[in-house]
Amino acid sequence: MKEPIFYSIPNFHINTIELWYPIKVDMEDIASFPILFHLLMKTNYNYKTEESFQKELLRRYIRNIGVERASYGKQEFLKFYMVLPDQSVIQDVDINNCLDFFLETIYQPNIVDSTFPQDDFEREKEQLKKVYDNSIKNRNQYTIRQVIKQVDTDGFLKMGVFHHPEMIDLLTNEQLYQCFNKYIVNKKPMIFLAGHESIKSLIPRLKEYFKKSELMPINQESNCYLKRQNGPLEMVEKKPYQQSTLAVVYKIPDMKAEEQLKFFVMKNILSSNSSKLLFEKLRTEAGLVYSTNVDSYSHFGMIILYAEFEKNSKEEVLSIIKDVVHSLQDNSVIEDRLELIKEGKRINLLRQKDSFGSILADKIESYLGLETTLEEDYQIIKNYKVEDISEFSSRLQLDFVYYLEGDIHE
């Protein structure tokens, strides 16, 4: 992609600019990203204090500005975004002025002698350590960490500070600056503008700004279907919580890229707006839980089913979860639910039109070849037969059961 792309989405009162930088993260950089994001979004070279930076955001009517790491399987991006109100809401918004600020914030950070201000750097490191320390005491986040540690046979899902907290202390200010250079400086992002026609006027400026930058390739191999893990099938821990948590992991190691939508349907039968098979069995029928959750890792061929409950129910909950997954091979269980999911996809095509973010994400992800559009998905899903899904589901393999027993009762 060489040229900025504009998407007309005129039924809302905002305009956005998004810059997507394809990245391939090295282990040495994993602590850099969360700290870099904070430092870039609090100050820049011209506005060196949080106060002055905040003042500029408000003065220029910038609704939102930020950066995040966006993952599509093994393909990752740094996504910088800025959201502005349209002039029909705020007459005084000057989009050129806002673009200046956006580009300064990304490319002219508050850096002196190739380092960020040492006090700011140390503060952000300390803050990240606090976030990490709190996460491992949070029952849900701890559970996810323990599960991923065991089942991620590729190592990709563990590429973050929550699996490698030691990287926080090892990080130096110089390394942080090197990370900034490596992933952002002189790199040309994919540029997307969306909203009203007025924002198109920024395209020539953006083309000029990035004309000498290096365009980074997108790694089209975003899929990495995880193998069976070699460790124990079950792990049990005890912690001082009120509730206990079960996480049950299933994989389809021989999954293929063209089966993504079957995976989507299977997951949606278990847990979605159109079908709540797991919830119905565990809560409505058995009364054992308040809520259930199914995390789907479609690019990795893995689903994780979660339930939280009082500890004496563990065996019953686990048995029900296994029965539910096994029942996905039963056409009589799937039949009506498949029809609901097809209908749900059709309805979502309409519902999506009320969400600016959803419309834009659909367009960008399709353009970059990361996902198919909702419309394309619907055209495929509506032709699925029950056997397509039951056969696919029969290839689910139980990979790991993690039980975190809460041993406190009040």
């Binding site: 809401v89 320390d133 159109s274 409505t284 309805i347 009320d354 009040e410």
Partner: protein, 410 residues
Amino acid sequence: MNKYVLENGLTIYCYVDKEKHSTQVNLVIRYGATYSDFLINGKQIHVKDGMAHFLEHFLLEHGSHGVIFSELNKLQMTSNGATSDIYTNHYFNCVEKLEQGLEILLTSIHTPEWTIDNIDETKKAIYEEIRRSLDNKYRRANNVIVHNSFVNIPYINGLGSIEDVENINLETAKLCYDAFYQPSNEFIVIAGNFDEDKVVNDIKKIYDQLYFSNHQVELIKINEPNQVRKDFEEIIMPTGRTVLEIAYKINHSHYTDLEQYKMDFYNHIMIEMNFGVSSSFYKKLIENKVITGNIGVSTRNLFDFSIVVFHVMTEQEEVFKDALEDTLHNLVYDPEWFQLYVNQLKMTVGLRKDSINSITGSFIQNVLSFNYEKLDEVDVLEKFNLEECKSFYNNIDFSNKTIVRIINND
């Protein structure tokens, strides 16, 4: 927003936006978690915490249509219920079949199947919800703050304790239901793309088929002093870092509804000006390494009081407390920042029309908290001024506070 009042006392508010593709329906009952003491036909009733929330669950699961969200999900509607301090909200969002959605929700909520088995079944999921909330340190701290803030009012939280819920019996639950779930105590807010006249007519027809007990209900107001019950408590539970929550109890009964409506906005501005990144309070604490991240500030109106809570992770508690006290007794009113934050609020309000959820959510809050039956408007915000803001805060008494410290149990 157009208003209709039916003969039975039900109020319907309609906000039509033909550019939207979906419609949101909220059935709001003026019965919330804090309603523990009332007169029903002259007889004094006291219920423990958790009754309003219990009824929310019971009605969603045991109405004439069975489990409401299952039925609505089959029609591809998203739905849920929520109980707040002063109201219960049953709602759904649909793209098609609005008439069917109304029939299911309104009929089912108003035709519950009162059996002891249904009562007992409902309790099971709530027990798990309570246990889950007790594993969340911020919710635990919130319970303690509320309990310690009030001397004569025994309310702690909307879920109740497990014992409170265990003791709910059919007779009392039905009595509360009959008393509060009456058309004159309800209102419906509908926003999105729909035929206004038809919908009002449909709702009228549905209610004409329903039966309501005609109870006279009067809430009993308990006299509550300005002082707190207890000024400090420590909670020992899993947490990565020690958390400090400092809550101020502020009597706001002398403000009119309109003043309280305006204060809701002024509070946002005052919090940003005095405790946000632009404030001297924040800058000093950062420079002196007392904090490494933002300070959380929340406000909640309970009975005749505002409870303003400051959340922080710090190892220099006394320094933080002194700085906080100093700031509260020397509030800053900076004209430039004031105008910038007013502009930010104007932008927020101006952009609300992009989301019907935002429209209905803020409107419901206006009606229930301030008897303000209007949408927020930019024109009103434009009249906000610093002198008026000062007049609201000049005589606030910050002397009544309670502190909670959460420490790790390792």
